[in-house]
């Protein structure tokens, strides 16, 4: 069986038919963009650039005249073991959450992309956690994970005793990841589902006529055509993982010890608890650069594969 590596070409005639025809002499004048550009510059661009500048100063959040200190904040941050641990935790979480959330999302999408009667109810049910507030989700799971709580009792049944998921430094980070994956798998599911529903039924039917079973059709037809949803999902889950804050604060507040501290929670502590605003902003810059580099790299990788 031949594996499809790209979407079937759309007939050119159809593409021409749907393209809006722009009348000659009625193009949008460039100055139409001026209000939006001015608004964007004032609300987004200038504060962002100023914010990045503050990462290179000793600003304490109150004083009006911060002093330029070069890379001192960044050097100081990387000298502390807590930052290294938070960086390690963030990278581990980004990797595990991205892989698990998308794998589960894909499996759920495949499941609900069927003709079973309850598919719409199932879709709603599986998407429900996404619309819940992360803090509420965190508190909910904090109670589920409590020692002697429902999950610990289930674990007793299968022979795991004295389970203390969020209170043990060895397992706490995995507990937080379970919370995040549980909440966001439905989001990945919806994007994969949209991709699956965009695949023409005829291709699957043709493959079935050729004798391909469900698994073969998924591997050789569906999966290759899900590249775009996959890129979107990976990018979104990476960005979300690098910014992870709410669920950590609701479940463990970065503890026990520093075992679940992430770059975002550390940023909060630096800026709002320790009054080191410039260090907090420096951490924000690190998160931004990390997210941008990794997202860009993975998009580039997928684009190269598509081109190949």
């Amino acid at each position: 069986m031949t594996t499809l590596t790209q979407a079937p070409p759309t007939p050119p005639a159809q593409r021409t038919a749907t393209r809006p025809v722009r009348a000659k002499g009625f193009g949008t004048p460039p100055w139409f963009a001026v209000p939006a550009f001015a608004f964007f510059t004032a609300i987004v661009a200038i504060p962002t650039v100023l914010g990045v500048y503050y990462a290179f100063t000793n600003w304490d959040g109150i004083s009006a005249a911060p002093v330029f200190v070069g890379l001192d904040n960044f050097i100081q941050l990387f000298k502390t073991p807590e930052t290294i641990q938070a960086l390690g935790n963030t990278l581990l979480m980004a990797l595990v959450i991205t892989v698990a959330q998308n794998a589960i999302g894909l499996a759920l999408a495949a499941g609900v992309n069927s003709r079973i009667k309850s598919r719409n109810v199932l879709r709603t049910f599986l998407f429900a956690p996404v619309v819940m507030t992360p803090i509420i989700v965190g508190y909910l799971w904090q109670f589920l994970f409590i020692p002697n709580g429902p999950i610990a009792r289930l674990a007793e049944v299968v022979g795991i005793h004295n389970l203390n998921v969020l209170g043990d430094p060895a397992t706490a980070i995995w507990g937080v990841m379970v919370v995040v994956i549980w909440q966001h798998a439905g989001y990945s599911m919806v994007i994969f589902l949209a991709g699956m529903q965009g695949i023409p039924e005829e291709i699957n039917e043709a493959a079935a006529l050729d004798g391909a079973g469900v698994w073969k059709r998924f591997v050789h037809v569906t999966w290759p055509l899900l590249r775009t949803p996959l890129v979107i999902n990976i990018t979104l889950s990476l960005i979300m993982s690098f910014k992870l804050f709410d669920q950590v604060m609701a479940t463990t507040q970065g503890g026990p010890g520093y075992s679940t501290q992430t770059l975002s929670t550390l940023l909060y502590f630096e800026a709002f608890q320790f009054n080191h605003f410039s260090s907090g902003i420096a951490l924000g810059v690190i998160v931004f650069v990390l997210t941008a580099v990794i997202s860009f790299a993975q998009m580039r990788l997928f684009r190269d594969r598509n081109a190949a």
């Binding site: 409590i146 004295n162 209170g167 026990p256 520093y258 608890q273 320790f274």
Partner: protein, 441 residues
């Protein structure tokens, strides 16, 4: 095509409407409408204050709502506007307003220098009015005064202190035939006796930061008090430093040893770092534990879970003499007046009203605490009966947090105590880390 445009326009309008509703909803959360009093409280007008007065504070504070209502009734010419935010947004929101010179007139602030909205930080940055000449400032408790002063100037009124300690179910104690221990060895024996009966004496929610280090900090306070009753005042005034204070360091070391002894004696439930403050309150309410270690401000939540439970308080003993028992109380919050206030007279009048002995006593009662200035006539809530005697004897020490030289110490001791409770750290390791954190960045 025309139809398409119509639909698009409807969609756009719907979008704008939804956005507007959301924006208005959030605006409503951030700032409620004028709280000009409509109360029938027969408080007569006390002054001719007029104009606008903005007061910012943490949301969910009915006593402050009531204070503003009454003050509004006393000053009908004054238009009072309250700005309430939740604790996670309050600091950033109000600090930004103060920075731009658009802050509220009267501001809820924190004592000490622990965060960007603390009295000493804001006072040092010139954001608060010097209130040293106000009537309450002269009679303020010396320890409380230290927490809201900088370079001899008083920047805030602090009214209530909340004791930390062991809140227990009185009936459960009676049923088990035990009484609150008054010596450390008595505490250990009680823990063992209760454990033998399948219960725990103290349900500890060490997942919640302050509860992880609350017990050793309180025990250290008690031990240090026996060595030098003025040790905290000396540290607060800068006569001694935390790094060099032998009294504090030796006391913390002994307190951490005692903490470990308590863990080994089964004073707490297993896996304490897996339990939050809310979870341990449920343990007490359901009868699985005799009591819990808590700050008195957390009592309403426990009361809500167990409305009929008879609750009382005991301070944890750190020595072998019952006469060494002292109360450790949280320094809490304060009220300041913005330096950029356009109605300073009204703002100062409101703070002075809050600082009257009557309002302080009512504030303390409403918040399960005690007024800072020891008041022998204060009505002690039933849940704090065990604390009332120590309070009236003046045996009260502030929780050391607000006097620590920087906020990193608190975060360090939380993390280190959680590690100690999990068996991943030694007493020496905790001491070294705390000692290092006193130096700050």
């Amino acid at each position: 095509m025309k139809m398409f445009h119509k639909k698009g326009a409807i969609r756009t309008l719907a979008g704008i409407a939804v956005s507007a509703v959301i924006a208005l909803t959030f605006a409503g959360c951030a700032s409620s409408p004028s709280s000009k009093s409509t109360s029938s409280d027969p408080v007569k007008s006390s002054s001719s204050l007029s104009g606008d007065l903005t007061v910012s504070y943490l949301s969910g504070n009915p006593f402050t709502d009531d204070t503003l209502k009454k003050f509004g009734a006393m000053n009908p010419g004054l238009k009072i506007r309250d700005v309430q935010s939740t604790s996670n947004t309050y600091q950033a929101q109000i600090r930004a307003q103060l920075d731009s010179g658009q802050g509220p007139d009267v501001i809820f602030i924190w004592t000490g220098s622990g965060n960007a909205m603390a009295a000493q930080i804001l006072g040092g940055a010139g954001k608060l009015v010097n209130l040293s000449n106000q009537p309450w400032a002269k009679s303020m408790d010396p320890a409380a005064k230290t927490l809201v002063s900088l370079n001899g100037k008083v920047y805030g009124l602090t009214t209530v202190q909340n004791p930390y300690g062991f809140f227990y179910n009185k009936d459960k104690m009676k049923e088990l035939g035990i009484t609150p221990p008054t010596t450390f060895s008595g505490l250990i024996n009680t823990c063992k006796a209760v454990r033998k009966k399948g219960l725990v004496l103290i349900a500890l929610g060490a997942q919640t930061g302050y509860l992880a280090y609350g017990i050793p900090a309180q025990l250290a306070n008690s031990i240090a008090y026996t060595k030098d009753p003025n040790y905290l005042t000396k540290l607060g005034k800068g006569e001694e430093t935390w790094t060099d204070s032998k009294v504090w360091n030796q006391s913390l070391s002994k307190a951490l040893d005692e903490y470990q002894t308590m863990i080994k004696a089964g004073c707490f439930q297993d896996n304490v770092t897996g339990y939050s403050e809310d979870a341990v309150k449920q343990m007490v309410a359901s009868g699985k534990a005799v009591g819990t270690y808590l700050i008195s401000a957390g009592l309403p939540a426990l009361r809500a879970l167990a409305p009929d439970m008879k609750i009382d308080f005991a301070t944890l003993p750190a020595t072998e003499k019952a006469s060494d028992l002292v109360l450790t109380a949280n320094p809490g919050s304060a009220w300041g007046v913005s330096a950029s206030s356009k109605n300073k007279a009204a703002a100062e009048a409101l703070v002075n009203y809050m600082g009257t002995p009557q309002r302080q006593a009512l504030d303390a009662q409403a918040n399960f605490g005690f007024p800072y200035t020891v008041n022998k006539d204060v009505k002690v809530p039933a849940e704090l009966t065990g604390a009332g005697k120590l309070y009236k004897e003046g045996k009260v020490l502030l929780f050391p947090t607000a006097l620590w030289p920087n906020p990193e110490v608190k975060q360090t001791i939380i993390a280190e105590c959680q590690n100690l409770l999990n068996g991943n750290e030694t007493v020496d390791g905790v001491l070294k880390a705390v000692q290092k954190s006193f130096g700050g960045k």
